[in-house]
Symmetry: C2
């Protein structure tokens, strides 16, 4: 336990604005406790925020991030049917990620080639 984070603490930690954290709460991605009216973010909020930002960096929508995190949530007890559905979802998400991975590798390869040509030209040129 950390005693919780204030909204500015958490926003500075992840380099986002407080507005973003309130917006994420509005969309159901975060669910901070309250002391009076003031928000107190838990470790759970911390990791959900981390996952959310990781997801958006990869081009997933907030809605998709929420869906994934809600399914993966370890605090929920799932029955067999739900567990099977979760496994299916995982495969789906994994495939999406692997597709992105291939996109990245293709781009990296292309960049390597451009760089090589670039250096070749530089080295074969007069000073």
């Amino acid at each position: 336990m950390t005693g919780g984070y204030s909204i500015t603490e958490l926003s500075q930690e992840f380099d986002v604005t407080p507005r973003t954290l309130r917006f994420y709460e509005d969309r159901g991605l975060l669910a901070p406790a309250r002391r009076g009216t003031t928000r107190i973010y838990s470790d759970r909020d911390y990791t959900r925020l981390k996952l959310t930002l990781r997801g958006t960096r990869l081009g997933f929508s907030l809605e998709e991030c929420k869906e994934i995190m809600d399914m993966y949530d370890p605090s929920r007890r799932l029955n067999s049917r739900q567990l099977l559905r979760l496994c299916a979802k995982i495969r789906e998400h994994r495939n999406a990620l692997l597709a992105k991975l291939r996109d990245i590798e293709a781009t990296l390869d292309a960049m390597d080639e451009v760089e090589r040509k670039c250096l070749d030209t530089l080295l074969s040129e007069p000073a």
Copy 2:
């Protein structure tokens, strides 16, 4: 040479709407020739579209895609200063891609663990 693609041919090939292609042209990503008023897309347009879609899938903006493609354009002759700038840009983009790659790997690892727990629970349960 392929003789060029019509707007619907190209849009169907990549599963986007004609509107998207016109929009990309407006933003300087594509530059189709014209027969009368009708657009004719070249192989260059084809590959620029492919790269654009690949970029957006990875979360890059159209502006970033354009910047990268314009720099990498092999039809331009660059002097040493420009070549060095290009090399620097390549390193920059490569770092961005490697960061995304790490994000993906972290997510894949997390998903593997959830799946493992998921299967464990399923297998240890009564029918």
